[in-house]
């Protein structure tokens, strides 16, 4: 099985960084099994592959790292997504792109660190194309990616109202959060790989 982090970070078998990653063999193995169980689960529940790949392509586009962005764009196409969905995800990611992390703290001394930013909502035309369910997922995803400290019960209520089950909300949250990890590991290891001692 291909190790996706190695592939995207350009880590060659037998290289110094390949050996360095082996110092944490369980982390290496389970970073990969995390990917496997999110994209090839035993049971997709109510969260089908095309939706998982659409969310992943959106997350990767928002992070703007070329290797992971290309990989998940291709994965969405390979999952059999309608071309107009792929186009909508790409153009929504352009609309939604910003700088993070920002957000608000509970009332008290930390509010001097509050920073407001984009509260992204899917525009009406792409919303009609992708449906309320996926649109709600993208809106939640944007919050998780850029301003997770603004999370509050209404964010989850919006998902429940759009038809997401509690279990599928857990899987969606894991998918976005895992990608926030995987994209950063790839970016970090790629820089390290290009800077031998």
């Amino acid at each position: 099985m291909t190790d996706i982090i190695d592939k995207l970070a350009g880590i060659a078998p037998g290289s110094a960084l390949d050996r360095a990653r082996d110092n944490r063999p369980e982390a290496r193995k389970h970073a990969q099994t995390s990917y496997d169980v999110l994209f090839s689960p035993r049971d997709f529940g109510g969260f089908p592959l095309v939706e998982r790949c659409a969310v992943a392509a959106f997350v990767a586009a928002l992070h703007g790292q070329p290797e992971t962005h290309d990989f998940y764009k291709q994965k969405l196409a390979d999952a059999g997504a309608a071309p107009e969905l792929a186009v909508a995800i790409a153009s929504e990611a352009m609309e939604a792109h910003t700088h993070g992390p920002y957000g608000h703290y509970p009332a008290g001394p930390l509010t001097i660190e509050d920073h407001s930013g984009l509260n992204y909502a899917v525009a009406p035309t792409p919303r009609r194309m992708m449906g309320d369910r996926l649109a709600a997922a993208l809106e939640h995803t944007h919050m998780l990616v850029f301003h997770p400290r603004d999370a509050a019960p209404p964010s989850l209520q919006a998902l429940l109202d759009a038809g997401w089950s509690t279990t599928d909300i857990v899987t969606l949250s894991q998918l976005v959060s895992f990608l926030a990890f995987q994209i950063r590991v790839v970016a970090g290891l790629k820089v390290l790989n290009a800077r031998p001692q």
Partner: protein, 207 residues
């Protein structure tokens, strides 16, 4: 219409929100329904990895998708607990605390600031990070680790060869640098779950 009932988020019981970053132990209250202990199948229990986590609302909520919970947990444990070479535990915990401080996860920051303080015995420096934020001046090694964590956490990502050079100049070898990358990246996973599925609460004083 499918006729399915739409669920409602949970109303947390009366509690006090923490309003500062702290090393105190906090509680965590879910916004959507965890499984009950009675609902846990053998597979759910296995996915918790530590049997004691069956008492935690957070882990019983994540157990709704046991396969990703188990992979998440095994990734986490190796990054932080594996004692083989690499960065000392205190450095890994510092990267987790700095990432949590920048993302604004008061709960995760409390846990990992506590660990960083215990393993380093540098309570004052850890508290300075919590009080002043990620620009706090600690020492060259910890400043380099915090700066690397910040660069990996910011979006767009800002991590470059200058961060590698600074970590090396502070005495980290490549195994240790991999640990810092893993630890900061992992807390970009953990913070998002903790922040978005529930909220922290100040622990009630025990009578």
């Amino acid at each position: 219409m499918t006729g399915q009932m739409t669920g409602k988020t949970l109303a947390p019981p009366p509690h006090t929100e923490p309003t500062v970053f702290t090393r105190d132990q906090l509680d965590w209250l879910p916004w959507i329904e965890p499984l009950t202990e009675a609902e846990l199948t053998p597979r759910h229990r296995e996915s918790l990895v530590d049997a004691a986590r069956a008492k935690s609302d957070y882990f019983r909520l994540l157990a709704r998708d046991p396969d990703i919970l188990e992979s998440r947990t095994r990734t986490d444990k190796d990054i932080f607990y594996n004692p083989q070479a690499g960065a000392p535990r205190a450095d890994r915990e510092l990267a987790a605390a700095a990432t949590s401080r920048l993302n604004g996860c008061i709960y995760c920051a409390s846990v990992h600031a506590r660990h960083a303080a215990v393993y380093s015995k540098r309570e004052a420096d850890v508290q300075k990070l919590l009080d002043e934020g990620v620009s706090a001046d600690l020492d060259p090694r910890w400043n380099a680790i915090v700066a690397a964590s910040v660069a990996l956490t910011s979006i767009p990502l800002d991590f470059g060869p200058e961060h590698i050079d600074r970590l090396r100049a502070a005495g980290l070898d490549d195994l240790a640098i991999v640990d810092v990358i893993n630890a900061a990246s992992f807390f970009n996973w953990a913070n998002r779950l903790m922040l978005s599925l529930g909220e922290p609460a100040v622990q009630k004083a025990t009578p």
